[in-house]
Symmetry: C2
Subunit: 200 residues, 2 copies
């Protein structure tokens, strides 16, 4: 059986849980508390030298890390990853956008707020929020006349972007002015077998 | 003919140039000076709403952005992207590692140093360098007993990681203690049709 090294609060972990639920794939979940250094032990660093969850352990004992690479691996050959070469590249475009222009601002601010801000974080938070809103602006524009991010169909690009967008308010982001994003969030949460981020 | 919106100093742009040179694919290069706001014009934002190079324009006028998504699109069906499902996911793992754990530190510090540090950048640079060295440590470990990052063969995972690693010293990173990385850099620069980052 697949094993998922995970942390319940993590949107990156949630992406994988959400996809596995959509696909109906059984798996064993191992919770590691990243705030207590549980991903920095020698044992875990052998599974992922970069010391991060989510990390997937396949049945042959090999490991795969980086949430969006795991999504790609698991979605290959399913309805959640298009077959067309250009659409597949567009799925990757939005997943790289998520990791470079979205997660470092929207996810990081949420994590800071949850943990309680340090003085250095208080110093940086306005700039992080500004760049988070830039990412939301790019998403709002992309959703003009489009129900989903790629090819008019629900895909792992939507799963990747949904994970931290739907909890952006926990980091103090106000999404009330983003009508298309709100409609899209409702379309994603209305998918069959949807689970909340709080569900293990 | 393919058109590449690019900025010569950019390692993200260089990834695409390096791959196109390896594949012998002709293209037109359009230089946009990111330091002069040339990727933030209304005209360019229609090509990439996220306002970044590299952006690839296909022959039908559609656009693809995010350097590693462009690499994937162009390498599909060539020797530079493995066919095996797990190896393909591993290529993505290293490309997401590059964009999340490597580029934001190693590339960003190089850019800051080139531009001349602001007071705020001077405040942040030690922490950025610390995280850049963490990424180099993960790479050095992965290259133990391995000539390349995935499957023992040169792939777009190597191209993605080479782009900013080989110019890390321009940001003040000292690579002298990273013997395996230095050997790997030499293997990459020894590939057929290799071009330097300074070559348009």
């Amino acid at each position: 059986m697949l094993k998922l090294y995970d942390f319940l609060m993590s949107g990156n972990g949630y992406k994988v849980r959400l996809l596995l639920a959509a696909l109906g794939t059984p798996y064993e979940r191992i919770e590691l508390d990243i705030t207590q250094g549980e991903t920095r032990t020698q044992q875990f660093l052998q599974r992922n030298p970069n010391g991060r969850i989510p990390t997937l352990e396949l049945e042959d004992g090999t490991h795969l890390s980086e949430s969006n690479a795991i999504l790609w691996y698991l979605a290959e050959g399913t309805r959640l990853l298009p077959e067309d070469r250009f659409e597949r590249a567009k799925v990757l475009q939005w997943m790289f956008f998520e990791q470079y222009s979205h997660e470092p601002y929207i996810a990081v601010v949420r994590f800071w707020v949850h943990q309680g801000l340090t003085a250095e974080q208080r110093h940086q938070i306005d700039e992080k929020r500004r760049r988070g809103y830039e990412a939301l602006g790019v998403m709002e524009q992309q959703l003009e006349g489009a129900d989903y991010f790629v090819g008019g169909r629900y895909s792992i690009a939507d799963i990747a972007l949904y994970a931290y967008t739907h909890v952006a308010h926990e980091g103090g982001f106000d999404l009330s002015g983003y009508a298309r994003i709100n409609d899209w969030l409702a379309r994603v949460s209305g998918q069959p077998n949807h689970i909340p981020i709080t569900q293990a």
